[in-house]
Symmetry: C2
Subunit: 269 residues, 2 copies
């Protein structure tokens, strides 16, 4: 049985006291350094593997302090406050003794409660009726995801017109398919291409500086989602002074909102 590239990329070797050794993955290479989603997943993986972990991820924030260099890195995950059914974590990824990622996570024992998905999945054609894009894939990590754009795919012309809208909707999943878990959902939350490229049809330099994921589903619901497609929707709310935000949702094909996610991204011009 072949190891899925995602499992290869998120493999961590324990080095004691909440520390793990990892290695950047050529399969998830971006223009400069790795795809941010895989780095976020590597950080969360340390929490998921920690012997003192209580409950499941509810919130994750990671800050990209510097581009990772290809090679080994150290992940440090520390439970800093454990209550009866909740736990707060600090996260760090280091290379050459310098932090390249900082973050925090919150895990909790989930309980059965009154529940509702208020942000309903939009009405879109099913995955089988939507074709994958034919435009070139510029960076390696994009090959690790199946993306079927329903709305707001890659611009066919990069002509710098202001399209007036940054919204994208797409069916997405790991390629090859892989059963969903918290780590892969974290990476999927970062799959959307930069909203300023969509809004302006212009390939300006960008870089995510901070990303937050709220997990609305527990492990059982992720297991149920299996290798199915997720509908992803992302948009920006403001572009100003060199930074724009992205707010996004990820639903199962059946319409369960698994995660909501936000990020703030540097842009030039």
């Amino acid at each position: 049985m072949t190891l899925h590239p995602f499992d290869g990329a998120t493999a961590l070797e324990p080095s004691g006291d909440g520390r793990w050794l990892g290695h950047t993955s050529a399969a998830y290479a971006n223009m400069v350094g790795p795809f941010g989603g895989i780095t976020a997943a590597q950080a969360l993986s340390a929490v998921l593997r920690h012997p003192q972990r209580l409950g499941e991820p509810v919130a994750l924030t990671v800050n990209f302090a510097a581009a990772l260099e290809d090679g080994p890195f150290e992940v440090i995950a520390q439970p800093v406050r454990t209550n009866r059914s909740t736990q707060h974590w600090t996260l760090e990824i280091r290379q050459q003794g310098q932090p390249v990622l900082t973050g925090t996570a919150f895990t909790a024992l989930r309980r059965e409660t009154w529940a509702a998905t208020e942000h309903a999945m939009p009405a879109v054609p099913p995955p089988a009726e939507v074709q994958p894009p034919t435009v070139g894939k510029r960076v390696e990590w994009v090959h690790r995801y199946e993306m079927r754009f329903v709305e707001g795919g890659f611009p066919s012309q990069w002509d710098g017109r202001d399209t007036g809208a940054s919204r994208t909707r797409l069916w997405l999943r790991d390629a090859p398919p892989r059963p969903l878990d918290f780590a892969s959902l974290t990476a999927l939350a970062d799959v959307f291409y930069p909203r300023i490229w969509r809004r302006r049809a212009l390939l300006v330099p960008i870089g995510t500086v901070s990303m937050t994921v709220y997990f609305h589903a527990g492990a059982a619901q992720l297991h149920e989602a299996g290798t199915g497609y997720l509908l992803g929707q992302a948009r920006a709310q403001a572009f100003q002074g060199g930074y724009f935000d992205q707010t996004a949702q990820l639903w199962t094909e059946g319409g369960t909102l698994l995660a909501t996610t936000h990020q703030v991204v540097y842009y030039k011009e």
Copy 2:
């Protein structure tokens, strides 16, 4: 000249090496412990006062690890990675040697760039045409804000019906009015009453566990906003397994999107 309660609450005494001493404020007391927005503002205030700070806040995430007890606390703000025009921070508030808040912040020198507010302010009546609510104010901190609900004010009957919607729109500002700055905008981002109370018209126990603010405006734009009203809009996207999210926006009366903010909140039942 009398000190504004907000300035009293966010006063910090330096104790060296990125550490400050603060004190909870009776003026911002909540049901249990202080209003979370004031605690978040106190954490950011340490960054704002730090002699090594580079640039202005762009992103802030705070995690409420435990309810603060009335009394003194220590704030620790450390710049962990400083690049040419950006800086990453870790934050902590401690009481009795235990972390009660963890967090991260990102500051940056803003540049003039192409800009757009994509999430436009909704059309609503101006503040003068909207009346403040007449229902009782249960906790002290609510008196520190002027709130004029345009939509989704406090339910007139707490009868536990499912209203089907969690959206609230209101004009808000400090009471008494105070010129806007990054610290007060942080607190204003937490003013919305819990979305589950709005959705279910039911006062279930709640507690914010993590909150993120993205600042889209620089100091000059906040200065321009002055003591004017902000339009706040908040809604939940999902309620599931004891946690719900809130996504919110804060515009100036003129329609500039100053901040977008998200939080995830524990709820019971």
